[in-house]
Symmetry: C2
Subunit: 208 residues, 2 copies
């Protein structure tokens, strides 16, 4: 029984994180258990937790992996379509965001929203990591909104941080409509709300 190579170990670690993200998007980061992961991955519990040391480290690793997925699926997609800051890019972000929800990138819906609801009143490292991620994302949105305001593409008196706040709120509502109410039209509804917020014409848009 030789120890496996460092490369093999890294692959195992990645597979544990992948599975953790999927499970936690449905069961929550606390509902994620080492025993459940061990069963799913045909490993021993010690083999699972050995890669992380504690459950909290595993939760932080899952959160970080989810963040990378989120960035790729929302920000990178939008930035590729709209390379300049401003209202066009906000609309591209809204589009990519609704598409991300429509495609069920995480089986239990938006991982970040779920983690945020679960930890918003539980002090600790996990909560601080979620908070830092969330605030960074709101700053990105506000920066875009500021460019749109400077270009005269949003009504005078509009506050950039209010636009960021409401876009995030609409995404949370869309996630809820899709998962709790199981409304297949949730992303279209969210899209309409985003366009109204951004004062864009109400072009119809189908998400799948």
């Amino acid at each position: 029984m030789p120890r496996r190579s460092a490369a093999d170990a890294a692959l195992t670690r990645a597979s544990i994180i992948d599975r953790s993200v999927a499970v936690a998007s449905v069961e929550g980061l606390e509902g994620l258990t080492i025993g459940r992961l061990a069963t799913d991955l045909d490993m021993s519990k010690a083999g699972v937790i050995g890669h992380f040391g504690t459950k909290e480290e595993l939760q932080l690793a899952a959160l970080s992996a989810a963040r990378a997925v989120y960035k790729r699926e929302v920000w990178d997609r939008a930035a590729a379509v709209a390379p300049e800051p401003g209202r066009k890019r906000l609309l591209a972000i809204a589009d990519a965001w609704m598409s991300y929800l429509a495609r069920d990138v995480f089986p239990g819906g938006c991982f970040i929203t779920a983690a945020s609801c679960e930890f918003d009143d539980r002090p600790g490292r996990v909560r601080e990591a979620i908070r830092a991620q969330h605030e960074e994302w709101l700053r990105v949105l506000a920066r875009e909104a500021q460019a749109a305001i400077a270009a005269g593409d949003l009504p005078r008196g509009t506050r950039a941080d209010d636009v960021a706040f409401t876009m995030n709120a609409i995404a949370m509502g869309t996630n809820q409509a899709r998962h709790l109410a199981q409304d297949p039209d949730a992303p279209s509804r969210g899209w309409r709300a985003m366009r109204t917020l951004l004062h864009a014409p109400r072009a119809r848009r189908r998400f799948a």
Copy 2:
């Protein structure tokens, strides 16, 4: 050791539910444990669970109690201020809603939002109860919006269910801003977003 009277039993039951709502608003409905309640209430676990039979029944009882609080703090307050359906009452609802969040009626923030995030992908009776409550509330909001539209108080082409959707989204975002980001101005921000949505002038408003 005589058995206590039915009235005493009802009081005990009510105290268990009260405590359950408070604990679950922070720890979640699954994080709520019978042992924790027993410790908090200086009772035995059997004494706690005996009133409900199963944890699921306890969760349903807590949800129902939270719904009553929510109705009293948001709907009843708004209806007292604005007896007629329409935009004025939507503004009164927005005001009561932000006040409910500002006053931290539940220690862990909006119980319904937390429960919704936690159960939105977990089939079962709890999820169906949350869903039914949520959809009923959205219908109430849409009915108000429909009256506002009929009275010409919202722009032509506005959809009543979209107004309900976005109001709910703004409340979710406000709850997140208050608890995750610990932003004391979250209710004021939510209030601004509600007024923008409802095309009302941006009167300043302090919440506490």
